[in-house]
Subunit: 225 residues, 2 copies
DNA sequence: CAGCGAAAGTAAACACCGTTAACATATACT
DNA sequence: AGTATATGTTAACGGTGTTTACTTTCGCTG
């Protein structure tokens, strides 16, 4: 039950202008989202502060969103859109992969994009995948939006087509790959010292091992298909 | 700057007694922790409700904790202790591993314990590893407490000693294994349908593939050590 | 056993929060 | 011009974490 329904919007990005304007300043909804997007602690944001930062009363927010929750939901949607764009940029670097190395690199790039996103926008990342995240990605797929989830299976398929992995990838393979990458990002954004391994190396390590894991039949099933 | 400093306590477990007692009911601190431990949404808990549920005034809480945050911190500590106990139970089933299969099984059991914990106590899990978790595990290692983090490297060492994996495990190996398992738990406690794969199968799949990944040199480094 | 200090509770207040209802104003259309 | 609507404001409600000042009980020591 959203109140505005603007058709998705490019999730702008240019935030923090002068808050002063008189009565109708015509652009509040997006300004609120933008301000939230660039807050150091999105989930901890107070609706009143947020409104105040745009030079507006708390109640004004309710002309554009049903609740604080609904606002954060929209913010999360923008986050997923940003993530999708990063995936697209990383993925389209080499489509289709012309050889095995390129197919591998594509998965590595995907992992790197994911990890980099978590590092670049930790608050947004926490909003999207954190504790209460379920409510913010309820409408969407595992990734928040089916569009961005499609990249991973596609990358795995590329590995299969280029002969890097012997078997056509299953759902389990995607789940495992996704688990490893997501887990790495989770740990990195948590307490694991970021300096322990540079981002690119981490992406390479994780994606590389995921590939290695898929190159052989599962444990306890030595008879390959 | 904790106020009580009771020497760790076994993190009891027996919760929810009758709230009625007069003035000094002698056991409040632990009762508060226990009540929080078994709340459906620990992070969303209101200090006032919590106090009320134990038949006590909000201000009484401050005789035992510096703040709500400090209370949740103690709750998280209990969570990490419970997790450690589960690890211990899973791990000690076969120490030392007498053959390769047992060494593998040990890692699988560890993964299973981790996943099972996330499923059994989702609220506690979210508190420990969720959005604001950093503040709750600040004193501890990646796991919240060095004791529980030691199990994973030990299991990997077992794999090496039994010849399942060719190279002595590095920090990277542990990080990768931990990432995959933690990621799987994260996704499962999130939106990935739990019914997609039964717990035991998931643990087997994830741990199995982690092992497979470690059985061969990293990508781009075909020359084994 | 009396008395006293510390421990552990209460009561009342503060500032802040999300949310709502009633009201005010600027804009857009006929 | 005049009105409907979108978009603001003001004031209030109940709930929150936290503090301050006061009160009661426990445990000790003379």
């Amino acid at each position: 039950m959203q109140k505005d329904e603007q058709p998705v919007e490019p999730c702008s990005g240019s935030a923090s202008r002068a808050p002063a304007r008189r009565f109708h300043h015509g652009n509040l909804r997006q300004e609120l989202i933008d301000a939230a997007l660039s807050a150091p602690d999105i989930e901890g944001l107070s609706l009143r502060q947020l409104a105040g930062s745009r030079g507006v009363t708390p109640a004004a927010v309710y002309r554009h969103f049903d609740s604080r929750e609904a606002l954060l939901f929209e913010v999360a949607r923008c986050g997923f859109e940003r993530l999708r764009q990063r995936f697209a940029a990383a993925f389209d670097r080499a489509v289709p992969p012309s050889n095995a190395d390129e197919a591998c690199q594509r998965l590595i790039d995907l992992a790197r994009a994911y990890l980099q996103f978590a590092e670049d926008e930790p608050a947004l990342w926490r909003l999207m995948f954190g504790a209460q995240a379920e409510s913010y990605r309820s409408t969407a797929d595992v990734h928040g939006d089916p569009g961005s989830y499609a990249y991973l299976p596609a990358a795995l398929n590329g590995l299969y087509q280029r002969g890097v992995i012997p078997a056509e990838p299953h759902e389990h393979d995607a789940l495992f790959a996704w688990s490893a990458i997501h887990g790495a990002a989770s740990l990195r954004s948590g307490r694991v010292p970021a300096a322990l391994m540079p981002m690119a190396a981490l992406a390479h390590t994780v994606a590389g091992r995921v590939i290695r894991a898929m190159q052989h039949p599962p444990l306890g099933d030595e008879t390959a298909t």
